[in-house]
Amino acid sequence: MKIDQPILLNVESAPGSATVMASGRQRFKETGLLGVLLALGFLLTIFGGSLEERNRDTGSTNTVNKFLRADNLGNLAKDTSFFAIMAVGATGVIITGGIDLSVGSMYCLAAVCGAMFLNYFGPQGPGAGASPFWVVPGAIAICLGTGTLCGLLNGLGVVGLRVHPFVITLGTMAIYRGVAFVMTKAQAFTSFPEQFTDGLIRHQINWQGASLYPVPLAIMIGVTVLAGWYFKHAVTGRHIFAVGGNEQASLFSGLPVNRVKLKVYAFSGCTAGIAAMIMLGYYGSASSDAGKGYELDVIAAAVVGGASLTGGRGTALGALLGALTIQMINNGIVILNIDQNYSQIIIGAVIVLAVLLDRINGTLRDKRLARAARSARETQQELAS
């Protein structure tokens, strides 16, 4: 019985083999990313310096570390949440071997639809005075619904037209932003009901004299945990890896490949809608230029988090850590007072480094697998003889 697993690993074309190989490697990748984050945090704590802070409640002053301040960490978590949530969705698409370039535009369209609704029922809108008990859930439903619908359309394009997702989502990237532009007539929509902004998404808690906004953080963790569980433990979640590992083999094994693809694109749209909802609540405005260029940030977060653009690999936790890594670098540039002009170079270098690390890991994995297969063959031969 002990020899079953090595034999399966040796059959590289079998559907699911990539999955089996991936899990161990992914854990290693996340451990590596956690190490990078800890190292970054350590460097920022040491070199970021400290400052005198006055407690708003007591009035007393004390010296605090610039990076480890609750305010700074809270802000870092908030900034990460938008990208991390979308990166989790994008990771699902990437695992199937696809790509979603329309993430930023779906985010924009979902935000604009939600913003127009909230503006209508806002304090200066014609529907002012409507009950927040249905306006707030309505706004959430509009954001999530718009995002999911956009994602579903992407999926239908990919599956129905059998065109490479790069082309389909490149087209819808322009279409969705164009629709947002036509709808808004280039105007920003503001003035939303307080129950949605300060009462929900921007709900503030004071902790050790710092103002923290826990809702974006809670949603980010919730989305990551749910998606992580789905990818790893749900049968339909495992199908995503199978399709990304070997689409042809999955098809011949009877897996519903098209349905799997539709699901991941719809999920990607849904996460863009969730991020749009948080953005609306936190910033209290939306216009047709919202989320411009986010697609690259989101894909970068997923790739840094270990998702392979060739498919078959990636995790929700990795996407979150990837987004956090990029945001920590941004934060570090500000804390260390590095010239802002260098930020793009630094972030670009980190992405290249992550891919390089991935390649090195891949080579090491292949060597490990070859060794395991050799030893399994030898064991089989010994048993046979």
């Binding site: 400052l51 005198e52 802070e53 610039k66 301040r69 305010d71 700074n72 802000n75 900034d79 932003r177 164009g178 532009f181 007539k185 280039a186 105007q187 920003a188 503001t190 902004t197 921007r202 503030q204 953005m279 936190y282 910033y283 209290g284 405005s285 939306a286 216009s287 047709s288 230029d289 919202a290 989320g291 411009k292 260029g293 941004n330 934060n331 500000v334 804390i335 007072n337 802002q340 002009n341």
Partner: protein
């Protein structure tokens, strides 16, 4: 056979001569027409020669509301000046959805082919636009710049904000609001490539040297998208709580309401522009003073200056700066009313 060959040769020679004469005539006519453009304009005097004129405005971006006000201004000016001069002035609006200098070049080339009488352009990138402007002028179309200039081009004039002075004004006012004592100030930078923002930053930094009590923590760039700009400012302020003043030479972050939660007066802010979304910041005293650019006038003056040059044959001054309008709590309501007109609400 010989005679037939001779006749055929003569016919060929005749046809060739006709072709040469035709081509020569075409060439001469073309040259005449090319010369005729500017001459006709120069000789136009104060009375219009045509009854219908078409001017085009090429702004930077459709998604920026300041240009919507400029469009309204241009359309209003076309109606009023047309009535005054007894001509029909049509305004064409050709603006990319987002900042895109290359698309602006395409629009200018198309407009020249379309035969417009004049173009007013706000340059996303002066260097990219200069050859297109020069080519249009050489083809007899009068071109001016508004909001963002292309000084090395053959445009006949520029109308808009003096960006360098604008930076000086923002920093001077912020210094006055901050008062005596040591202060740390930051500047949001927007897009590093935008010439007007670069000039404003330069002006602000130059002005800051006059105040030894003010130290500049840094210039912080971000996408010129409200949410991104607000996120950057929050990040910088959180990482540097000793910053007590923001010289907002660009105020994209104020198009959101994220900074409205700042304690009024704790961090002093003086900012450019006074768009509808920014006005609550003054109302709640989070922002001490806004400096509005005359965005409606960008459009109005564009049509007026093109009318002067193309229809009346006069030469306006090469550079005309529009002053900034300070907006504080005292004139806030009055200024808010303008936007209703400018956005045709």
């Amino acid at each position: 056979m010989e005679t037939a060959a001779k006749i055929s040769m003569k016919t060929k020679q005749f046809l060739a001569s006709l072709t040469v004469i035709y081509l020569a005539a075409l060439f001469v006519t073309g040259c005449e027409q090319k010369k005729a453009g500017p001459v006709a304009n120069d000789a136009a005097g104060s009375t219009p020669k045509k009854t219908e004129y078409t001017f085009a405005l090429v702004a930077k971006s459709q998604s920026n509301p300041v240009f919507q006000a400029a469009r309204t201004g241009a359309e209003d000016a076309a109606v009023e000046l047309g009535k005054k001069l007894g001509v029909k002035i049509t305004v064409l609006w050709r603006t990319p959805n987002e900042d895109d200098a290359q698309q602006q070049v395409n629009f200018i080339e198309q407009l020249v082919l379309q035969g417009v009488d004049g173009i007013s352009v706000s340059c996303s990138e002066a260097e990219t636009l200069t050859p297109a402007i020069d080519k249009a002028v050489e083809q007899g179309v009068q071109v001016m710049c508004f909001d963002s200039d292309a000084p090395a081009s053959q445009r006949f004039c520029y109308y808009g904000t003096d960006d360098l002075e604008c930076g000086h004004t923002i920093m001077r006012e912020l210094a006055a609001v901050l008062g005596p004592g040591k202060h740390v100030v930051a500047i949001p930078g927007g897009n590093q490539n935008a010439r007007n923002i670069r000039n404003r930053i330069k002006g602000a930094l130059d002005e800051a040297t006059n105040y030894p009590n003010i130290s500049i923590r840094g210039v912080y760039y971000s996408k010129e998208v409200p949410q991104d700009a607000a996120a950057k400012i929050e990040e910088v302020q959180t990482a540097n709580p000793d910053i007590d003043g923001w010289a907002m030479v660009g105020s994209w972050s104020l198009f959101t309401d994220a900074l409205l939660k700042w304690e009024p007066g704790k961090v002093k802010i003086v900012a450019m522009d006074a768009l509808p979304a920014e006005l609550p910041y003054v109302q709640k005293a989070v922002v001490a003073k806004l400096f509005a650019q005359q965005t409606y006038q960008w459009g109005w003056q564009s049509v007026e200056l093109l009318t002067e040059k193309v229809i009346e044959g006069r030469n306006p001054p090469a550079i005309e700066y529009s002053p900034l309008i300070p907006v504080t709590q005292t004139n806030l309501d009055e200024f808010a009313q303008n936007w209703k007109k400018w956005l045709r609400e």
